[in-house]
Symmetry: C2
Subunit: 492 residues, 2 copies
């Protein structure tokens, strides 16, 4: 089978140890550390998103949020805590979510007499709260008060924030107890409105992932088994990582009237009759940063898609002796100002470090374009420019004005190239198979990647055993096959 | 004494009941409700910030955040939960904060057998967590790992999010268990760096409040008693509300080496010696929305300062009969597009409601400029324009092009007028008094507002009794008097 981006056996030193081929999970952690994106915190299961990682998330928010607003969504902020009784309202939802939550039981600490603090026994809450694992129930409760008439519909709400689901085995960005996301919650008059919303938002996600994060994937609908707890229908965008596993990058849920019934979201319809609203919810989270790493990264570290990169261009002054310092720095400053005025995100690395260390730092952080400026460049009004995705093979010297003029194309080329590689990865890692026997032999022979099989196999009693043996789940029924196939894969 | 903006006794109907004069606290709640800014939630003490209120907060973030970035601050995200042992590290801090917190003691719920859910006894945490009341301790812990050398300083971090301090008596925006804010946490080589940071950020707050929120106040330093728990010095911006009470709109804290010592934030200085860093923290929160209401609002509701208003211009189509509908709406659409293209925030209210209700809605929401467009306006290429702060007295008809051209000036005039009124309010509500006897007689005679007295009175043993009797606190020692005076006031 095809194994994209396979390491050549005699590859020289890489910036990241271990390499992807040697230990994909270890490589993933090392990329995050060397790019300074995030780290584990002293709060078990929770991460600290460091400035460079948070700048990436902010860029994602800044790009996506205006699209939601144009579509009619209004941002809002609901309480962090949810009364436990709210969770219990929707039967399937509680089954799926109530289990692993951070439970708030007290509202005061007191001295334990040994220099420490303990929850005060006099301050136990009558009803405990959970830190929100998701906000359907508390937003549903508000919707039941805010919606009276069909004139109040559609009601399209969204909030950016964090949620918490207690996790025992955590991995930065991919699975942490607290993670960051946006969560949309909308109410419509009927199923047509809710379905249209789910598909519209799913298209918006696809556009965002392809046009900004430069990754491809399968858009489709989840099987009944894999639906969000309490949803009638769940749609998803599933991407394929360089190790062949799938990652659910975003989901949209048609909740039917399930939450409307449990929360009491009723409205007077156009005929004056009291009717249950149809609700939806949808989200993507900081998991997409994990996807970015595992789709685009290489053995030298992170590769940032240029349209979302916190820094698009890193300028590295290369001083051989002190006499050059001020002219080189002036040149860098002037170039920085020029690029900034054209809307590029650019930095000069003027830290007190060796320039080779600065270059490797830019490489490991995945900064799309690196510029080196030494005495020769200043003298000739040139810059030496390297594309992160192509490495030193792409090194070339350009006149400053030429660089400034072509930078938009350079960034677009990087974007296009990353997206093509992601599409190639998806194709190479998808086997179209017909029978359960085929699936079995593929994975038995240590095949990597996912398999697309006829949807009828979902009814086959032999499927469960195969899923269990090879840790497969049904990811999605891709739209491209009009519901005739289902994608099975190991997944993050 | 002067009482600014006093209601005239025979004022006709107001949009808000009760009026400010009749019941300021009731008026405050009614303004929030009628402007649809926020509401109480089913989670005791926590609020729901509704779309219009959140849009205001987002505008505040969008304005202020780039200033922090220009100054060198990097945004980041630290865990929501803080181990209880962390809080206990800094003695004064625990004294000030540990008491009323949301305490997480379990990580799982289980069925109680009666259809409800309870914390699982098998899932009790070995060490409880609190939902962060503020993040000095957990950020200090990270700083102790991130900072090694003077080269790592200054380290300037900030996060936007929510925090939680359990409150028994809550009021929307002013005092809720969960509230939204930004919190900056920085480390410097020495006290000079930390002090400069506190003053720089305080100036930034002042600029933001004056130039965007259009309110004035006293910048100064807190008395020892009123410092943040664990700070060597606390600086604040205190504003005066229309009822004469003070509200602390923002604070900056010089934490000295207190947190550095308790968290172990040490660095190798320029002489190679291990040294404790000097840290600072600073914040403003959604309380400033409460201040906006109580400084600018009137008996018809909210008045939004134009540079921060979610909607600067509301266009109201006035249709007398159905034949006019489409030409009027076309006219409104075209005007909306024209204003949007110039960067104004503008909406057409095309809801299915009476136009008089739309006008009152725009009034109660405090939209700075209201435009009415009827058949006559369309015919003559004109708009009828009303300033919210001046009311119907300011109604005038302008040619469309004239309105579009002068809108920046109109908005600036509204801003300047609001700011002047706030300065007048501050002046009118500040009594310069010399002795404790003066203070006593002023409040005994039901004087409203705050008093500025010589700082030496802080040493007077009689002060405590007066503070208690009249619910006064020492707000700030204003910079304008170079530490010679202290401002005493009732405060929110």
């Amino acid at each position: 089978m095809n194994q994209p981006q396979k390491n050549t056996p005699k590859k020289p030193m890489t910036a990241i140890t271990p390499t992807r081929e040697d230990d994909f999970a270890g490589w993933y952690q090392a990329v995050i550390k060397s790019a300074d994106l995030a780290e584990n915190s002293p709060v078990r299961g929770s991460m600290i998103v460091k400035p460079y990682g948070w700048a990436l998330w902010e860029n994602m928010q800044k790009t996506f949020d205006p699209w939601l607003k144009d579509y009619g969504v209004q941002n809002t902020a609901f309480p962090l805590l949810i009364p436990v009784s709210f969770l219990a309202k929707e039967a399937q939802h509680v089954e799926g979510f109530a289990k692993e939550c951070a439970v708030v039981t007290h509202h005061r600490l007191e001295a334990d007499g040994k220099g420490g603090l303990i929850p005060s026994s006099k301050a136990e809450l009558e009803e405990p709260f959970v830190v929100r694992p998701t906000s359907e129930t508390i937003i549903g409760d508000a919707m039941s008060r805010w919606i009276q008439s069909y004139r109040d519909l559609p009601l399209q709400l969204n909030q950016w924030g964090s949620v918490m689901r207690w996790e025992m085995r955590t991995r930065l960005f991919l699975r942490t107890s607290e993670f960051f996301w946006h969560e949309g919650h909308c109410a419509f008059e009927d199923d047509a409105g809710a379905t249209k919303d789910c598909l519209t938002i799913l298209d918006m996600y696809e556009k965002f992932f392809r046009d900004y994060l430069a990754f491809d994937g399968y858009k489709g609908v989840k099987t009944a088994e894999e639906r969000f707890p309490g949803a009638d229908q769940t749609y998803a965008f599933e991407s394929i990582m360089q190790d062949g596993k799938a990652l659910q990058a975003a989901t949209t849920h048609n909740l039917g009237t399930n939450f409307a019934k449990s929360c009491g979201i009723k409205y007077q319809n156009r005929d004056g009759k009291e009717t249950f609203a149809h609700t939806t919810s949808w989200a993507f989270s900081t998991r997409t940063i994990g996807a970015l790493i595992m789709i685009h990264g290489d053995d030298d570290g992170m590769i940032m898609p240029p349209r979302i990169a916190p820094t698009q261009v890193m300028i590295i002054p290369v001083m051989k002796d002190d006499t050059q310092t001020s002219t080189i720095l002036d040149f860098c400053d002037s170039l920085t100002r020029q690029l900034k005025s054209k809307g590029f995100s650019v930095k000069t690395d003027n830290r007190d470090m060796r320039s080779s260390d600065k270059m490797w730092d830019a490489v490991k952080k995945g900064i799309p374009v690196r510029i080196e400026v030494g005495a020769r460049e200043v003298e000739q009004g040139q810059v030496t420019c390297v594309r992160r995705d192509l490495g030193k093979e792409s090194k070339k010297t350009l006149a400053v004005h030429e660089f400034v003029e072509t930078l938009p194309q350079i960034l677009d080329q990087i974007h296009d190239s990353l997206l093509s590689k992601s599409t190639a990865l998806k194709t190479a890692y998808t086997q179209n198979l017909k029978t359960l026997e085929d699936v079995k032999s593929f994975y038995h022979a240590e095949g990597k990647g996912c398999v697309k099989v006829p949807v009828s196999l979902l009814q086959d009693t032999g499927l469960e055993a195969i899923k269990e043996t090879y840790s497969l789940t049904a990811r999605v029924m891709p739209f491209e096959d009009e519901g005739q196939t289902v994608l099975l894969a190991k997944a993050y």
